[in-house]
């Protein structure tokens, strides 16, 4: 049923990866991406792969989630490997049949690209697996707060994110109810051509819009009653504080990064 969809792929837990400050986690994820693209050859990439796997194990996220993330981008992985495999013609040929020509260089590049994409996806999804959407929003708001000086509405954007997160389950539940109600009135949403089915959604979408507006209006009123007047002079109950574990996390990431750089330039 539609209600069973989970939003945000957050897996609550208490691993060291979970306990990292969300801001540190975002920044370290960026460092990880840089590291991934710094790695110039298979050895450097190998270090990145080890890092990705090790971090995944430390986070104690079920391993099948690693492959689940990959499955969604399977098409991209296949296209990348096919393109590299068949269209790089430099290097020694290792397989030739009619117009198909695969070279060792092509194979190498294909493997390299696939491993890099896989690491990228697994590593970044780890951020959303181990951080609750609220912490994430909060961290983004705080990281971006310097932009307030150049009039970027950081607080407003973060507030919108929070409210969206809060109302997604409510709206899903409502969609479910409206769909049942229209089905009970004989609406047929499951059969017919694409256009017919799209048309059959109107009786669901209009009430959903109307109710979203009602939610918005009433929520705005309730927020006003609770003294909401924008981000100005606002404090937060939960102060994000960098702890010792964040230092260790940083050391951990940069150790691997240093490894990649050393491999690139000195060995």
């Amino acid at each position: 049923m539609i209600k069973d969809i989970t939003i945000g792929q957050f897996f609550p837990g208490n691993s060291p990866v979970h306990r990292l400050d969300a801001r540190a986690k975002i920044l370290l994820t960026i460092v990880f991406i840089v590291m991934l693209f710094t790695a110039g050859d298979m050895r450097g990439l190998g270090v990145c792969a080890v890092f990705t796997l090790l971090t995944f194990l430390i986070s104690r996220i079920p391993l099948k989630m690693m492959f689940k993330g990959l499955r969604t981008i399977l098409v991209i992985i296949i296209i990348t490997s096919v393109l590299n495999l068949f269209f790089i013609h430099t290097g020694e040929p290792i397989f030739e049949w009619k117009f198909i020509k695969i070279t060792d260089k092509g194979l190498q590049t294909a493997v390299f690209m696939v491993v890099r994409i896989a690491c990228l996806i697994i590593g970044t999804s780890l951020l959303t697996y181990t951080t609750s959407p609220i912490d994430l929003t909060d961290a983004i708001e705080r990281l971006l707060s310097p932009l307030k000086k150049i009039k970027v509405p950081v607080h407003e954007l973060a507030m919108m994110m929070t409210i969206a997160l809060r109302f997604i389950p409510t709206l899903i539940e409502e969609t479910d109810k409206i769909m049942s109600a229209q089905k009970a009135r004989g609406a047929d949403m499951e059969t017919g051509s694409f256009i017919k089915r799209a048309k059959a959604l109107i009786p669901v979408l209009i009430p959903l819009f109307v109710s979203s507006f009602r939610h918005a209006e009433e929520l705005a009123l309730a927020m006003e009653c609770r003294c909401y007047h924008g981000g100005e002079g606002r404090t937060r109950m939960k102060q994000l504080k960098m702890k010792l574990i964040d230092l260790w996390g940083t050391v951990y990431v940069f150790t691997f990064f240093a490894g990649v750089i050393v491999l690139n330039h000195f060995i």
Binding site: I134, L165, E173, E218, L219, L221, C227, Y228, T235, R236
Partner: protein
Amino acid sequence: MSYIHIRGLEFSYINEAEEPPVKNTVLKGIDLDIEKGEFVAVLGHNGSGKSTLAKCINAINTPEKGEVTVDGLDTIREENLLPIRKRVGMVFQNPDNQIVATIVEEDVAFALENLGVEPKEIRRRVDEALKTVGMYEYRMHAPHKLSGGQKQRVAIAGIIAMEPDCIVLDEPTAMLDPKGRSEVMKTIKMLNREKGVTIVLITHYMEEAAQADRVVVIDGGEKIMDSVPKKVFSQVDVMRNLGLDVPQVTEIADFLNKQGYDISGEIITEDECVQALYGLLKDTAAG
């Protein structure tokens, strides 16, 4: 001057969609005084103006004519807005549409964060508010997983964390099941009796209004009655004509009273009714 002081309050909505714009006068000169610590129920059918009145108390609506002051602060003055909303909190009908955050305790903290309270003090007040409404153990839960009564208690906690003098509740139980309703009513009564919070409860459930110290009946934008529950509900016919109900026991007592039997027409609780009927009947059925 009383804590909430309303004199000659008039208010209208203007429907701009119509051509020419249609003016719909909802409140037509209301006088009302509410003292600190009172528990006042406001009764009236839908469209009687009772919700509009509620929104006038915490400066969501400002009077078109007349005046509304809270703790001496005039609602019409812009600079009084925050001080008034800090003093008078408001709880609405639909619990889903007043919870802002994705975690219960974050939601309770919302108003305090807006007011720029120190983080440590927020923590203390949030915990206290959640304990007061009996939702402390749910502080880390997601609001959409709670029952209607629980959500409404979270909304109340979000208000009492501001430590207001007064809470206005606009049909807080209309969307709840009987269990949720009694949870919310218990919380409201406790806040009034134990914490001395002034309560203005807007409702159309007479059994809820019967628990108040005072009942104000609004109809057609005017105050029709303003008295203790006994006096209001004993006007069975007037209430009926206003589209309102009276408790079943009041209806029975009033009926017998009018038939000439020796029973008070001012019975509003079950206990009173049982005692009175027992007094009337005891020799018959038994003997």
